[in-house]
Amino acid sequence: MVGKKLFFVLTGIMMLNINWAQKGVEEVFPLKWKTKIGVTTYRTNMAFHKGSIFIGSNGINRNFKIDSLDGVFQINAQTGAIEHHYKVPFLGDNDVNGVRIANDRLYFGTDNFYFFCFDLKSKQELWKTKMPGDVECIPQVADLNGDKFQDLAFPVEQAGFYALDGKTGEVLWISYGISSHSGNVSPLALDLNKDGVMDFVTSGRGTPNSNKTAGFKMAHYGDYHMAINGKNGEVLWMAETGAGVHASPFLYKRGRKIELLALDAYGELRVMDQKGQVIKRIDFGYDNFSSPVVTKDEHLVIGRGSIDFAQKWFTCDKEGPCYLKKEAEAEFPEIDGRISATTMIADVLNLKRDQLVGLTESGTLFLLETNGKVIHKLKFSGGAEASAFILDIDKDGKLELLIADLDGNLKCYETNSRAKATLGSFR
């Protein structure tokens, strides 16, 4: 029913045939600097640490076995100058997607079956661990073995979920309950079982378990949202999705309650409690890839779509999950191009209220009101899969907007906003 409403909204907008004048990004946000780093993906994130931006690169070509731009770039946030290029010293497809800074160290995995740790001061490799597959996601960090040192947790493509000692790179545990469909999903960290150690919420493909179907979805593919015990890797709960999962889960605090939001490849959004029980379901339909986020004024956003997420819009059965009422307010503005980047939430236009800041793979930066109404559709050259990064990185009191453009450049734009970003980075 919701899908139907959204369809009508979308159709209505298409029929209106609004011809938005497509300004360039630089007409609204002056370019501060740009730096050649190679191509990035929807799994790419940016980390800011002590005046530097860290970003992984898939190099000149995602498929090249030898590629001078593969690795991680450390870039001066003020000038855009490359301060260091962390490279893998041996050949292979050393593409890097997710990066993590912790313990004054840089952690990242590659498409060449290795996970690395570099010291940020000496820039030296401290350790590396051979993995059974590609590491595609952003590794999550938490102290898992009680040594007061942040450890790493992440899925390995088609090979399980791994925890590594942050000091030595030794494997702490492996959870084979999930093989991570394509290693796309960057896990959430929170202490689900209240044992003082962070646990992990992730999604992916496990073992096919039956020949049944779940409606039109194929349950037997063995796709799950699941939680893993951070202490020992045991599965705390699994919730069968019936469809692959590419979007990373989102943690939403509704008052004192914590809700876990996860989207599968068929566009079914599940809102779960900390025990994996489904509280709400919303069908967003196909072609939605970015992770769900929720604004301060309770709008659920996936890519361009915004739905009023307030409790009043839900109708609940006695025993089953709640469903969005058909009269719920939803907006899916017409924006060309696939959206893989997660939509950020910040007042980049200095309007004294948050905007939705999203990127399309065909090169549109869209700025929407939190209810989905279009403010700007701005053109940039190459398109982007990676989520935008919004933070005052040059300490001038105003936010900067960073876009990893598929033309191979990381671009930093100035804003005139002194606001603090509500959601400024992906993981």
């Binding site: 070509n61 498929n63 090249f64 076995k65 030898i66 590629d67 010293p89 041996f90 050949l91 292979g92 060449n112 079956f113 290795y114 350790w127 590396k128 661990t129 051979k130 059974p132 494997v171 702490l172 545990w173 492996i174 959870s175 084979y176 309950g177 999930i178 496990g206 073992t207 096919p208 378990n209 039956s210 020949n211 063995g222 699941m226 893993i228 015990n229 020992n232 890797g233 045991e234 599965v235 699994m238």
Partner: protein
């Protein structure tokens, strides 16, 4: 058992227990000073002497020593000496290495599988792509075939590799071997045929055909070449030495720059040449133009070609043997055809295999009898498929019969003289064909009726008379019966003929007579029907009084003195005892004669009927009229059975009837009761025959049955069915609309069930203790000649397999989508076994595979070795034994089984029979279980 396995499997998966194990080699890298070495449990096992070290993988570790990279084994010895400028750890079988600024790929022995000669390497599932700057080549991972890096674009099409050079010409490779150079256009999908092994390619702007083995078989000198394929080529496994046909055009066909939708047709003068090849022998025949007369839905060649040269017409068979054609006629989509021989007409199947021959055979066409000359007028509309009219004898001694192409036999008596057909549309809009005949060999006359639905058996009724009234009545045949000296009136149903009654005299409302011929101003004759009345109905004269039968079969009593046409075409005036009334010929409703003058009926502007009389005798009569009377029917929920004058009839239980003509003046039925829906009533006429009427009183199933009762058969959306009995033991089925779907000729009719016991939308019929299957629309799927019938039902999307078994150990099967029936008209065969969309016949070392959907023979080959396609694996047969093989040709289960089949619903399991024992075999690891173990 299946449930238990699933439950165990499910619980195993959900457990998802963590395992604290380390899957890598246990050596750990340690650093001493600026050198790296390896430790095991804290003890040094390989000294720290390397400037860089990686972890062991595949038994080898990539290390760097003195600026060169190599690979050591677990003893620290060089497996691959340090000779590379850079290298990659082994993640799989191969590793990338770099030497002198170029990269290549080595195996675990250090041998190059791709020379270090490239600037980069990329890969996909099947290939490595080697790059020299912007130019690329490709190496097949499986075969190792290398195409050099000199192309700016490479694409794959089946086993062809089409590589574009920077000069925009193409090199074409087949399995890594360059077969054609400098092709000037890309090869579209349709221009390469893997099974024919031919490529249509163009050089210097002219097209030719290249054979993978024989080279250019048609030189590159034609403006355009088209391929005509036959369905035989659709089977990828066939090893048949296939023939193929190309049509080459002399004219240049150049795509206009500005017309992307150009279909290749031009006005240019052209000469077409047909090239036919069986192996290397090529014959060339040139024509001015051609037409492919029969193609399958996929555009494959399935019939023959008609070609013209000058004013002569030539026709080919599938082998492209052209003959100057005399007469050839196709019978529509059935692909049967009739060839006129020197003195016989030959009926052939789609393979041009002669089935039968007659002095003359022709498709049934809609014909009219010219009353003046007795000639038949041919309307040129083929009707009655799959039936032919066949003749034997010549001219005045000619006899005619109806021939069934499916049964491949004559299905009617032989009639003297002619046989002609007309199309009838009944009140439900259903079409049937009625064939009128002259006298039969036994001296009878008669007519046939055949339902429009294909597969409906043809029925015929014979009459011992030679004085049939000429008529064109739409729903009735009136035949004079000289034995009784009565006129018999027959009603033509969708699939049957019912005798309405015998009367002193009966007329159809329209008749043709000599008087109906008029001449126009130019003296040309026009044949007009004499319209006694403007609508079709039957007038009966019985004992000096008249009665009427409406279009829907409702009949008045024979009590009227006169019947006169009313000015309104739906009504006739009836007169009795000097009083006038009305009869509505559409609904059969009567306004009892009670008026001194004829009643005038007029249609008002809004289409309703206005009858200007005042109501009379309201209490005693069962009809109501007002001066404002408009026509609308009583709703079915308002109708009830009422005892009326003379019997039971339907009445209306609402005040709405004040304006309704629905209520019957007289009760025509001895018994009348509501059926299983509010629409249908079961009725017994005065002759104690049962039929069915709907709530408006219209006859939907003629009164022809001894008994009608609700059957214990219900089909979704079709409702509950009725058993109709003819005689004591003959039973058939009518649906909830009263349509006869199973003719009452069976001992038993039950609902078909699948292997899980679920009821299916079809019926099992029993006749002479043999079983058959008929679908819910009345299509015969299996004739009633089997010891047992079965239905295997996979899911909604797949057709059901309907199988019949006789004592001959063969499987008589048809794939049939019961939900959306569509009859298949190829003859039913006995198969040895059935798999997927194919059925197989094993016979003396030869296996034939037939396509279930078309009945076509897909392949015929020796049983020495062949494969049967499955979802996850194939079953292969070698020297008469069955095994399993994966899609890449790797044997999973050796051929040791006497017979094997796929396990429906468990794609990873094969069922094999060895010395009479049934095994369930997991093909991946070849573990097998007996029935008991399973």
């Amino acid at each position: 058992m299946r449930l238990i396995i699933l439950a165990l499997f499910g619980s195993f998966c959900l457990t998802g227990k963590a395992q604290v194990i380390k899957p890598f080699e246990s050596f750990k890298i340690f650093k001493s000073g600026d050198k790296y070495g390896y430790q095991l449990k804290g003890q040094e096992v390989i000294p720290a002497r390397y400037s860089y070290a990686t972890q062991f993988s595949k038994g080898l570790a990539l290390v760097k020593l003195d600026e060169k990279w190599g690979y050591i084994d677990s003893s620290g010895n060089w497996s691959i000496t340090p000779r590379f400028d850079m290298a990659q750890p082994f993640n799989g079988e191969y590793a990338i290495v770099s030497k002198y600024g170029k990269i290549g790929m080595i195996d675990q022995k250090g041998d190059f599988v791709i020379k270090a000669a490239y600037s980069n390497i990329t890969e996909d599932w099947n290939n490595y792509y080697v790059w020299d700057g912007e130019l690329q080549g490709v190496q097949d991972k499986k075969s190792g075939h290398l195409i050099p890096a000199k192309y700016d674009q490479i694409r794959f099409q089946s086993k062809l590799t089409i590589a574009r050079m920077p000069n925009s010409l193409y090199d074409i490779y087949y399995e890594g071997r360059k077969i054609i150079s400098n092709v000037d256009r890309d090869i579209p999908y349709r221009d390469f045929h893997r099974l024919e092994r031919t490529v249509i390619a163009s050089q210097n702007g002219k097209y030719g055909v290249f054979h993978l083995t024989d080279g250019w078989i048609i030189p590159t000198k034609y403006g355009k070449i088209e391929r005509i394929s036959t369905p035989d080529y659709t089977d990828p496994h066939t090893s048949k030495n296939m023939d193929y046909i190309f049509v080459a055009h002399s004219a240049d066909y150049i795509r206009p720059e500005d017309d992307p939708f150009w279909d290749g047709e031009t006005e240019m003068t052209d000469t077409v040449r047909f090239f036919y090849s069986g192996g290397q022998a090529i014959s060339e025949i040139s024509f001015d133009r051609y037409e492919v007369r029969e193609q399958t839905d996929e555009g494959n060649f399935a019939g023959f070609i008609t070609a013209w040269k000058g004013n002569k017409r030539y026709t080919s068979n599938q082998n492209l043997d052209f003959e100057e054609s005399r007469f050839l006629n196709i019978i529509s989509h059935l692909s049967w055809y009739i060839g006129e021989g020197s003195d016989k007409t030959i009926i052939m199947n789609r393979y041009k295999f002669p089935i039968d021959s007659f002095d003359l055979a022709m498709p049934l066409k809609e014909l009219y009898l010219d009353p003046e000359t007795g000639e038949l007028w041919d309307e040129e509309m083929i009707v009655g498929e799959p039936f032919l009219i066949v003749h034997k004898g010549k001219q005045e001694n000619r006899k005619s019969a109806i021939y069934d192409l499916v049964l491949q036999e004559v299905v009617s008596p032989w009639f003297e003289g002619k046989l002609w057909a007309s199309r009838e549309i009944n009140s439900l809009g259903q079409i049937s064909y009625v064939y009128d005949t002259d006298k039969s060999e036994e001296g009878n006359k008669g007519f046939f009726v055949q339902g429009m639905e294909v597969g409906t058996p043809i029925q015929y009724q014979l009459f011992a008379d030679d004085q049939t009234l000429p008529n064109n009545g739409r729903f009735y045949r009136v035949m004079h019966n000289s034995k009784t000296n009565k006129d018999d009136v027959f009603m033509i149903g969708l699939k049957e003929i019912a005798q309405v009654g015998s009367y002193d005299k009966a007329y159809t409302s329209t008749q043709v007579s000599k008087d109906s011929i008029t001449y126009d101003e130019f003296g040309e004759p026009t044949f007009n029907r004499t319209n006694l009345f403007k609508r079709d109905f039957v007038i009966i004269q019985d004992k000096g009084k008249y009665a009427l039968i409406s279009q829907q079969g409702q009949r008045t009593m024979a009590i009227y003195d006169t019947i006169i046409q009313n000015t309104h075409k739906e009504f006739v005036n009836i007169k009795r005892d000097g009083k006038y009334g009305l009869f509505h010929v559409v609904s059969g409703k009567t306004i009892v004669p009670a008026y001194d003058q004829t009643l005038e009926v007029e249609t008002t502007i809004d289409g309703s009927v206005r009858i200007d009389v005042v109501p009379i005798n309201l209490e005693n009569e069962s009809y109501y009229l007002t001066s404002e009377g408009s026509k609308f029917l009583c709703g079915y929920e308002d109708v009830y059975v009422e005892k009326l004058k003379g019997g039971y009839g339907l009445a209306c239980n609402t005040e709405k009837a004040i304006n309704d003509q629905f209520i019957q003046a007289e009760g025509p039925y001895k018994n009348l009761k509501l059926g299983n829906s509010l629409n249908i009533y079961l009725a017994q006429d005065k002759k104690k025959k049962w039929g069915m009427i709907d709530y408006t009183g219209e006859i939907v199933l003629p009164f022809n049955y001894k008994r009608i009762e609700e059957a214990n058969i219900e089909i979704y959306e079709m409702g509950r069915f009725y058993s109709v009995y003819q005689g004591k033991k003959k039973v058939g089925l009518a649906n909830s609309k009263g349509q006869l779907v199973v003719f009452p000729e069976y001992e038993q009719v039950e609902q078909l069930k699948n292997e899980w016991g679920d009821p299916m939308p079809a019926f099992v019929v029993k006749k002479n203790k043999k079983y058959g299957v008929i679908d819910y629309q009345g299509h015969g799927i299996l004739p009633a000649e089997f010891e047992k019938v079965e239905c295997t039902y996979s899911d909604n999307l797949k057709a059901s397999l309907i199988t019949g078994y006789k004592s001959d150990d063969l499987i008589y099967a048809r794939k049939f989508n019961l939900e959306t029936p569509n009859i298949y008209l190829f003859p039913l065969k006995g198969y040895s076994f059935v798999r997927g969309e194919s059925a197989f016949i094993l016979n003396h070392g030869i296996i034939e595979e037939y396509d279930f959907n078309t009945g076509l023979l897909l392949r015929r080959q020796s049983t020495e070795k062949f494969e049967i396609k499955g979802e996850m694996f194939n079953i292969f047969v070698e020297k008469g034994k069955f095994g399993a093989i994966n899609k890449d040709g790797k044997v999973l289960v050796p051929a040791i089984y006497d017979f094997a089949e796929f396990f429906d619903g468990r794609e990873e399991v094969m069922i094999g029979f060895e010395k009479g024992v049934k095994y369930y075999i997991y093909v991946e690891d070849n573990k097998r279980y007996t029935e008991q173990e399973w």
